[in-house]
Every structure is written in structure tokens, then in C-alpha cells.
Amino acid sequence: MSVEQKVRLYILENFLFTDDETALNSADSFLEKGILDSTGILEVIYFLEDDFGIKVDDEDMVPENLDSVNNIVKFIGTKTQAA
């Protein structure tokens, strides 16, 4: 399973409660679409740290890194490369 599929599946299952792939576009903003809130984003961070072995620092908590599936995939790529 690709990184994108894994992240998408996690969001779909845990925040949209569906396995209907069309319910989420990879470019959808979690904030604007009301998919996540301030505690939901912390759950996503725990998921990224546990499943991808990356460390999400305070300064990483910006929309450019975490506000869509696409942004998360890009962020994981950058973090993994840097490691």
C-alpha cells in the first residue's frame, strides 16, 4: 500500500467513517472541510509518528505539512529523506 493510500485510509476510517474512497479528495483541506479539529490533528500526529516513524515537531504543525492527504504525503517524504 502506498503512503497516500495508507493516509487516505486512516482519515476515511477514523474521521469520515466510510470506506467510500470518493468521500475524500487527496487535496481536500481538513480544516476547511471540517474533517479535523484541534484534537483530531493530534490523533493524526500520533498516527504519523507511530506508523511512519517520523517525529512531528511543533514547528511542523502548519497547514502546508498537515492540512490535506497530499500535504501529509509530501511532509512524510521530506521527513523520511532528512532522517
Partner: protein, 499 residues
């Protein structure tokens, strides 16, 4: 009496071109805000809104929210602003209970078919459902002018729902006088000025955010909006970029800022004051905030929706001396501690907080019994248990009710228990508030399974996440053999809290 509409009109005449509300690239100047409010009012009247007619707003914080709020008031209507995080059935319940014919919402929120699902529409409730009338964009471009509607101070201005999906929704009725009195009191003790640039993260549909909106617009200040604490660094960056002078938060707002944003890395030297309300904040967090923004005054405040918003505060200069207190009465409000028989108790003795003032609500909408229970003495029974010191400062010790306070939300355990009862495998359940470093309280549910059931926590969580608004979703689930009960079968919730 001057109403909040009068206050805004005065601010508009003095600060025409100044930004009133800013959200990203979207903003409204004071004159634009007033013009849009007038157009909204005119349209509502043309559509048949009668004086006292309820108009729901299901809209996230935005400049338009304020224009719609004042537009409804200008038309002689009653604003019923609903929680945008609520599920559709909950929204429909509130709309029906309020008897609202008109509203403003995005079509998608109420499951209406539209080619423009993300735009705000004026809606009309009809027997068959919801009818879209016209988009706010079109209203903005209409050339219409208002025939003024006289507002009486005792007219109802707003209904704020504090809880209730099933059973009895609690709609707090606020008159124009209630709003005006409380906003004036707040402006007496908070140093709100026309030159302020306020950063607001609080939802306007709750009483705290509502008070931030009206107290600041009424003097001509600028409100900058960030609608989520999801990305705390973005919020602090906004404070820095807009040279913000005031910030309002609940305990969880500051907990997130302290744990997830490096405040010391930003220039917050323009900040004049910050406030906290909506439940207790750990003294350690207060001290850390005061260290991080040393030049800023810190106001601790206490209140209730039933009191419009605010009841008590600690003056900034006494914050260290009175740390741990919820404050003393704000100007225009009396606070007393009373025993179970409603008699005042001596200083230092525990009892329930009673409050009196022109800010106390008119009652609960369509619920005279509950109104009588809480207002029968002419004072508001707050349900908060506290002691008072000789200087009149109150120190909270508990709550008379079972309500859970999580972040800025008040949640009735029954709402969660009723939702869990929909699962066939559950015999019964009980929800309580447990301590949470970020939210103050988080929700924990104790569940008794039906005999032979092998229901999993995941199934329970999935059901909750699907059917409850995000802030009502339990953080912890525990299965137990039986719930603690009295001999007569009444749930002893306190025993679960003590576990």
C-alpha cells in the same frame, strides 16, 4: 437604553472605512458591515419575517456572520446561532424547537441540493424541508435600503442553545437589554478600545465568542479571525502579523498554545491584554502565559450563557493574589453563595452561586418548568458550587449538575448515553467528565454489555464518531459489570467520578 445595534451604528459613524472584521483575505469595513446588515434586514422583512421571528445562523466565524447577526436584529428578528460542528439531526431538532422559519446556512449543511453547496444562502423552512431563496452574494449586490424597525429593550434578541439533541433542548433567551447590559459591564472592566486589533478563535455561536464580537464591534475595534486551533503556530503568526492587542481564549486554547507553539519565538509586544473564561485554567498555565507575554494584562473571567456571557472577573493587577479564584462580580452584577434552602451562607462556607443583574436571561425557550426551577427566586441559580472570601471572590468547588465541560463546550451525559443506547449490544451506560490537560475535561463512558455480547470498544467509538458531534466523542471507553446505583436504582455518577 442603547442596544448593541445602537452601539454598532455609532461605531460605524466614527470608523466608516476601518476594517471591522478580517478573515484571511476576506474583510468588511464598518460601513460595509452596516450596509450588508441593512440589506439582509430588508430582504428578511420583504420575505415576510415578522417581529420576534427566529432566524437561524449555521455559519462559521466570518465577517458575514456579523453582518447577518446585526441584519436579523435590524429586521426585528431573533438570532438563533447554532453550533456548526453539530450533526444534521441535531441542527434540525434545534431549528424545529426554535420554530425558525428563516435561516442562513450553506446548502450542504442541511443536505439541500444546490449547484453552489459551499455558498451561504437565505433559507426558508417549509413543511417539505428546506427551500433555498437567494445566496448571500446576490444579497450583497442588491440595491435595497432598510425601513427602520424600532427595537424595544425587552424584545428578544437571541436564543443560544446550550445542549440537547434529544429530550429537551435548552435555549437560553436573551433580550436586547440582557445583551446591552452585559456588553456594557464587560467594557467597564476590560480595557477595550477602538484602536484594538483583537484575535478571535472562539466560535461566535457560543456566549463567550458572542461577547467578544459585540463588545469589540460596539467600540470600533478590529476583529481578526482564526477559526481553529488546529495549527497553533498559524494563530500566533497571525497575532504577530496583525500586531494584535488583545486575545481571548478558554483553558484549552492556552494549553494548546503552550504545548504546541513556541510563543517566545514570536514578537507579541503589541499585546495589551489576554482573557480566559469557560472553566478553570491550571495556575501553572496562567503563570506561563504571563511569562511569555509579560507586558500583557491577564484577565481571568467566569460566566454562563444564562447570564448572557459574563458574571465574574479578577482584575489583572490582582491575578497573583487571587490565583485559583473565578473572580468577583462584574459591574452591574450581584453574586451570592446560598445553601440548599436558598439562604445566603457566611464567607468561606460552601454553597451554590446565585446571580442577579440585567444580564440574566429571560428563561429557557418553550420550557417554563426549567425556567421556573432556575429563576424562581428572581436570581439565577448557576448550579456552580463555590465558597466566597471576604473580598467577594468566589472559589469553585464543584457543580450541582452532571454537565461535562470540555473545551468551550457544555455536554449533557444523557446526550451520549442516549446515543449509546442505540447499540443493541449495550445494556446501559454512563458518561462522566475526566481530567484532561488540554480540554479541562474529556468524556469517559462506562458501559455494561448485554449478556453474551462481545461488542468491542472500536464498535462503540465508530458509532459515536458517526453519530455525535466531534466534541461529544468519548476519549475513553471502559466496560464494567454493573453501574453503581442507589437502592432505588438511581445512577450514582459520583462513584464513577471517584473511581
Amino acid at each position: 437604553m442603547t442596544t448593541i445595534v445602537d452601539d454598532l451604528q455609532r461605531a460605524v459613524s466614527q470608523h466608516q472605512d476601518k476594517p471591522a472584521l478580517v478573515h484571511g483575505d476576506n474583510s468588511l469595513s464598518y460601513s460595509e458591515l452596516w450596509t450588508l446588515a441593512e440589506k439582509v434586514a430588508t430582504l428578511l422583512r420583504q420575505q415576510g419575517l415578522e417581529r420576534g421571528g427566529r432566524v437561524v445562523l449555521i455559519i462559521e466565524n466570518s465577517p458575514e456572520y456579523a453582518a447577518l447577526y446585526y441584519g436579523v436584529l435590524l429586521a426585528g428578528g431573533v438570532v438563533v446561532a447554532l453550533n456548526t460542528a453539530a450533526k444534521e439531526d441535531e441542527l434540525n431538532n434545534w431549528i424545529a424547537h426554535a420554530g425558525a422559519t428563516f435561516g442562513f446556512a450553506k446548502p450542504a449543511v442541511l443536505n439541500c441540493k444546490s449547484s453552489e453547496p459551499a455558498k451561504i444562502f437565505l433559507i426558508r423552512r417549509i413543511d417539505e424541508g428546506t427551500q433555498l431563496i437567494v445566496s448571500l452574494d446576490k444579497i450583497s449586490s442588491m440595491d435595497i435600503h432598510l425601513q427602520s424597525c424600532e427595537i424595544n429593550e425587552n424584545d428578544l434578541a437571541a436564543i443560544i442553545y446550550t445542549s440537547g439533541t434529544t429530550g429537551e433542548p435548552k435555549g437560553v433567551m436573551l433580550s436586547h437589554k440582557n445583551l446591552a447590559a452585559n456588553m456594557a459591564s464587560i467594557r467597564e472592566y476590560l480595557p477595550i478600545e477602538a484602536d484594538d486589533r483583537v484575535l478571535n478563535v472562539l466560535p461566535f455561536y457560543y456566549s463567550y465568542g458572542n461577547s467578544v464580537l459585540h463588545t469589540n464591534l460596539g467600540v470600533g475595534a478590529t476583529i481578526v479571525m482564526e477559526n481553529s486551533m488546529m495549527f497553533p503556530a498559524k494563530v500566533v503568526e497571525s497575532m504577530q502579523n496583525h500586531e494584535v492587542t488583545a486575545f481571548y481564549g478558554v483553558a484549552s486554547t492556552y494549553a494548546i498554545l503552550l504545548s504546541r507553539a513556541k510563543l517566545e519565538n514570536y514578537n507579541l509586544s503589541s499585546m495589551r491584554y489576554v482573557t480566559q473564561a469557560g472553566g478553570p485554567m491550571p495556575p501553572a498555565h496562567i503563570e506561563q502565559i504571563m511569562c511569555a507575554i509579560p507586558q500583557s494584562k491577564f484577565f481571568m473571567m467566569y460566566g454562563q450563557t444564562e447570564a448572557t456571557a459574563r458574571l465574574g472577573y479578577i482584575p489583572a493587577e490582582l491575578i497573583n493574589k487571587k490565583l485559583g479564584s473565578a473572580g468577583k462580580a462584574i459591574p452591574g452584577v450581584e453574586l451570592e453563595i446560598r445553601d440548599n434552602n436558598g439562604h445566603p451562607v457566611p464567607y468561606g462556607t460552601e454553597g451554590e452561586i446565585y446571580a442577579k443583574g440585567e444580564n440574566i436571561m429571560q428563561g429557557y425557550w418553550k420550557n417554563p418548568e426549567m425556567t421556573q426551577e432556575i429563576l424562581n427566586t428572581g436570581w439565577l441559580r448557576t448550579g456552580d458550587i463555590a465558597k466566597m472570601d471576604e473580598d467577594g471572590y468566589i472559589y469553585m468547588t464543584g457543580r450541582r449538575t452532571d454537565m461535562i465541560k470540555s473545551g468551550a463546550n457544555r455536554i449533557s451525559p444523557k446526550e451520549i448515553e442516549e446515543k449509546l443506547a442505540e447499540l443493541e449490544d449495550i445494556e446501559e451506560s454512563a458518561a462522566i467528565g475526566i481530567r484532561d490537560d488540554i480540554l479541562g475535561q474529556a468524556i469517559k463512558v462506562y458501559i455494561v454489555k448485554k449478556e453474551g455480547s462481545d461488542i468491542l470498544k472500536q464498535t462503540v467509538m465508530k458509532h459515536c464518531k458517526k453519530n455525535l458531534a466531534p466534541y461529544k466523542i468519548p476519549k475513553e471507553v471502559e466496560f464494567i459489570e454493573q453501574l453503581p446505583k442507589t437502592a432505588s436504582g438511581k445512577l450514582q455518577r459520583f462513584k464513577l467520578i471517584e473511581r
